[in-house]
């Protein structure tokens, strides 16, 4: 495999591959070999398999994988994708929801080079879901993106797997850990939005520029991906009606609580409605999860309602989804 993007997730995946190598061999008969890793500065390549421990050390110390003995500064992701013998490409570069780049081009080139693709990057999925989905089919490769929605929570995998016999009527979800943390803290401390946002930034839960999270756009991206991948609609980000949480005041949270509700940023995907906004969730409702947790409820014709909850971000948690996709491809291909 080749890993494109070696930040939080790329490194988290590398760590998990080291820790789990014996487990993967024993339980899945899978012996993953990483032949190339690339970041913005350059790449490290070894067709015999890179030593991931060493690679992690180098990347931590020097800030790029290009500083590895097998590394080369200036070697680009496209050269890696087209020029190495990897079967699977992990696309883990930053999300750009306007252009989808650089991930979009990486994914297309990988598919055209007949490589399976696993990504956590929402950008390409939001911008070109249908295009990528059909390109994968035409190229005869597997395309997986479990990590793009729900982090470690197997939202897409559950729906496409054991729930496949159901018609999904609606998907409702708390899909953004940052805003859920902020709303939970506001509720517990009766504190204003700005104060709690600042605290979340200091704890590293919110980014320096938290706009995408607090304006509800990150959740809208995930709703777009779920609508496309699970409801079979051809939805764009602009089809989602979005309201963020910036205007949710402590007074509103108090009034909600007095009536037995909490306020959560909830995304809804139905065939005829895509919406994100702060909503009243009854205390005790499965979506009333606290802290940075994510939760998704499927409304189904057979099973009625199923909710899953868990950690929506973090390198270790999210690598559960990345690894799940890898194992799934390994099985599909009869490995």
């Amino acid at each position: 495999m080749a890993i494109v993007g070696f930040g939080n997730l790329g490194r988290g995946l590398a760590r998990v591959l080291i820790e789990k190598s014996e487990f993967l061999r024993r339980t899945q008969g899978l012996i993953p070999r990483v032949v190339a890793v690339v970041d913005e500065h350059g790449a490290a390549v070894d067709e015999d398999g890179l030593d991931l421990r060493r690679l992690l050390r180098v990347a931590e110390r020097k800030g790029t994988v290009a500083a590895h003995p097998k590394g080369k500064r200036g070697k680009s992701a496209l050269e890696i994708i087209e020029g190495t013998e990897a079967d699977v490409v992990f696309e883990l570069t930053p999300t750009n929801i306007k252009t989808g780049e650089p991930g979009l081009t990486h994914i297309k080139k990988a598919m055209q080079a007949e490589k399976h693709v696993i990504t956590s990057n929402k950008g390409p999925l939001v911008v070109a879901f249908k295009e990528l989905d059909s390109l994968a089919r035409r190229c005869g490769v597997e395309f997986r993106y479990s990590a793009s929605v729900g982090g470690g929570v197997p939202v897409i995998g559950l729906a496409k797997g054991l729930l496949a016999g159901n018609e999904i009527r609606a998907i409702r979800g708390v899909l953004n850990g940052t805003t859920n943390y902020i709303l939970t803290r506001m509720s517990k401390e009766n504190a204003p939005f700005d104060v709690v946002l600042h605290e979340a930034q200091e704890l590293g839960i919110a980014e320096k520029d938290p706009t995408l999270d607090i304006e509800g756009i990150d959740t809208a991206c995930k709703i777009t991906i779920l609508a496309n991948s699970l409801l079979g609609v051809n939805a764009r980000l602009r089809d989602v009606r979005v309201a963020g949480i910036r205007n949710v005041r402590p007074e509103a949270i108090r009034l909600a609580r007095e009536a037995g509700y909490v306020i959560k940023l909830v995304g809804v995907a139905k065939r005829d409605l895509l919406e994100v906004g702060p909503k009243l969730v009854p205390l005790g409702h499965p979506l009333a999860v606290g802290g940075t947790l994510n939760a998704v409820t499927f409304e189904l014709d057979l099973a009625r309602e199923i909710t899953i909850t868990g950690f929506g971000a973090g390198p270790q948690e999210t690598s559960s989804s990345l690894l799940g996709d890898l194992i799934d491809i390994h099985r599909v291909l009869g490995g």
């Binding site: 949710v248 009034l255 009536a259 909830v266 909503k279 969730v281 009854p282 409702h285």
Partner: protein
């Protein structure tokens, strides 16, 4: 199936009732294959209602629940913004203008001077259709008054 339903509805009109809505809850079919139907109708007198109900029973229709209700469907909604400034009285009046809809409760939490406030409103409507109408009217009014509307996740 539709033929059967039409037959079930017959006593209502033959005893002078006026059907307003029929909701066929096929998705709630019972294990024995019975399909719940919610019928809302007006009827002038109590005796006529009793006749209609008797006719239903004799046709083998099981009556699960009868509601002679006004304002039976309650929903809670929050508003955030310059609620007082944008005339909360007017917001409420315009909702009450809808038939079968009433704002039955209001709690206000004022922000500091010049700041936004929050309000919690209970809307009582005679049925779910009217609830939906009221909520969508409230959303339109709020969009114009630049208020944030926070609805319950359950009605979405």
């Amino acid at each position: 199936m539709p033929g059967q339903l039409v037959k079930v509805l017959e006593p209502i009109s033959s005893f002078g009732g006026n059907i307003q809505s029929v909701v066929h809850r096929r998705e709630r079919k019972t294990p024995l294959g019975r399909v719940p139907v919610t019928i809302i109708f007006d009827v002038g007198e109590r005796v006529r209602l009793n006749r209609i109900l008797r006719a239903f029973r004799s046709m083998g229709v099981r009556i699960i629940r009868i509601g002679e209700r006004e304002g039976a469907v309650r929903s809670t909604v929050l508003l955030v913004g310059h609620i007082v400034h944008t005339d909360i009285r007017d917001t409420i009046d315009r909702l009450n203008e809808l038939g079968g809809v009433m704002v039955s409760d209001l709690s206000l939490a004022m922000g500091r001077v010049g700041q936004e406030s929050a309000a919690r409103m209970t809307i009582a409507a005679d049925d779910e259709r009217r609830t939906a109408l009221a909520l969508s009217k409230l959303e339109k009014i709020s969009a114009r008054k630049k208020l944030l509307v926070i609805k319950s996740v359950e009605g979405m």
